[in-house]
Subunit: 243 residues, 2 copies
């Protein structure tokens, strides 16, 4: 993979969310990025650690999670190429949650210092990165609503639709099917239910002819009913640079 392709998905995503000048794109491409390969299910940064760098996902899926004192794990978000899941560590140096890979991943690491330098020189990028962390927070708010107010089948549908919307941005939806590489255990951790119940819910959505989740891949069987079930309103993704 050539040096130029590494920030490609990042640029694509930032452009969609906020707009980007030529100069800013060049500055991003000039960022010193250290690329590392990770296997599936590996810790990238963990709660309690002091971070000195941020992690750009070049290839693969990651998830952020927290574990309670009782040992129950909650997945907070799922992340795809082009995203910087731990951008928040720029100003919150000690991690309050874990970042782990779901699949084998190619990750690009950028030192906090390099990022600070970048956005001091291109002040617009500071607002833009800030905005990116605010969209992150908006997704957490919707995740709270999902886990707090929707019945389990609607929760699953909502997570699926959100993930699909974000995959669309980077051109990773093929027809009515897209990747969602979670085990049923992890689906449960994302929805705040047990793996057994996750299985029941998946099975039901399959039997109802709405969606099929199979070996890390979602097949949408009935678009209309999926959207209706999810009760999805994408405004919280703030995808138009509308301002």
């Amino acid at each position: 993979m050539s040096g130029d392709e590494i920030p490609a998905a990042l640029v694509k995503r930032l452009r969609a969310a906020s707009g980007l000048s030529e100069q800013e794109i060049m500055a991003i491409h000039a960022l010193p990025i250290l690329v590392r390969e990770y296997g599936a299910e590996r810790a990238v940064v963990s709660e309690g650690q002091r971070a000195v760098e941020c992690c750009l996902i070049v290839r693969g899926f990651c998830a952020r999670s927290k574990t309670t004192s009782e040992g129950r794990r909650q997945i907070l978000s799922i992340h795809i190429p082009g995203e910087i899941p731990d951008l928040m560590s720029l100003h919150l140096h000690v991690m309050d949650h874990d970042l782990r890979t779901l699949t084998p991943c190619t990750l690009g690491f950028v030192h906090h210092e390099a990022l600070r330098l970048l956005y001091r020189r291109q002040p617009n990028l500071a607002d833009l990165f800030w905005r990116d962390t605010l969209i992150d927070a908006a997704m957490f708010r919707e995740w709270i609503v999902n886990v707090g107010q929707r019945p389990a089948p609607a929760r699953l549908a909502h997570v699926m639709v959100e993930l699909r919307e974000r995959l669309k941005l980077i051109g990773r939806v093929e027809g009515s099917s897209f990747e969602m590489p979670l085990t049923q255990e992890q689906v449960g951790e994302a929805l705040g239910i047990t793996a057994v119940h996750a299985n029941r819910v998946i099975k039901q959505l399959r039997q109802d002819g709405i969606v099929d989740l199979h070996r890390g891949r979602v097949d949408v069987l009935d678009e209309t009913r999926l959207l209706e079930l999810a009760g999805f309103d994408g405004r919280y993704l703030h995808q138009s640079p509308a301002l």
Copy 2:
């Protein structure tokens, strides 16, 4: 209330979380703030609105919430004097959730333009406000865990302890008792349970001699058991300017 007292709680809070220079404090005090009085249960900004100003809580309690298409409401956070609950609107101009008062409130409004001017002149304050929104996001993450993974009694205990920690920062905890002006309906909306079940849980914690929640006020009966039940680890509040 004199002009100087209005940002007092804000300064106190920012100082605790990140440290603040004399010059920065003066710049904050020079901010043009329009003060308005609100009754209880009033909308401040609503989902879908374009915000052009941010709202500093001078007196009283507010809450942020979202309502699903099915009409179920979820409270996302509770806010106290010194906080700017909609700071995110600075870069996310159309609101993705509601901000309402819980009690009668004194609110100070600052135009986005004035805030931008402030942090352009004092670049440190930009990072500081950014950091503030990141702590906001960290609280959402913990709220997800609370709603997703803890049984209802632990959820209530956790919200209580978090609120108390934040009230401590602005000197609003008197002995073993502090304000939490939510109806049982609203407690339910915060915890992702119904009002009836909220009532059951409150009753149980009272009978168990752990906490009493009564007319908008919490009395801690057994500190040790409350902390144990809440499983509270305050690191996510990022209250030390440790960096």
